[in-house]
Symmetry: C2
Subunit: 96 residues, 2 copies
């Protein structure tokens, strides 16, 4: 199991229509084969400057790679992530 | 539900006895009342410099506060976390 997480802050103002649209449209990611336990999260610690997070799990590295290469993922990154995300950090986990 | 996560890198060399001891002794955290779904994780993305992570969930903010204030948590932070952890980032999530 690989848990892929990304914590981020959008360029859009909090509560804006653009923010809502980005978060709603991210649901396309959970339709990509191999994606399990997809979660959209609000980041609530005051100890960092991020506002949201996505978390998903893959059975193995091949499934993760398939997601990364999938046209819907590539398109979301190019058309939505790059232009709309201000700052982000990817953190991936396996169980110890 | 609040998911409390911390991603970190130890001062100890990878594979050292000190590293193993730290990761084993962290099990004390899951004995603290209110802690659910405690996980010890290896951080595997090359896109950041962290090596491990802990994740746990709390039913609500009161349970999280109880954990933070619990003597076993305070002691672990003082006696193990502060002297042995090189760098860390806390990220807390609620479901959107």
């Amino acid at each position: 199991m690989i848990r892929h997480t990304v914590v981020f802050r959008l360029k859009h103002p909090k509560g804006s229509a653009e923010e809502k649209a980005f978060l709603a449209d991210a649901d396309v990611l959970k339709t990509i084969p191999g994606v399990e336990k997809f979660e959209k999260l609000r980041q609530v610690s005051a100890k960092n400057g991020y506002a949201y997070g996505f978390s998903m799990e893959f059975a193995d590295a091949a499934a993760y790679q398939g997601y990364n290469d999938h046209p819907e993922h590539v398109r979301f990154v190019k058309e939505r992530w790059v232009p709309e995300v201000e700052e982000f950090l990817e953190i991936d986990y396996e169980r110890l």
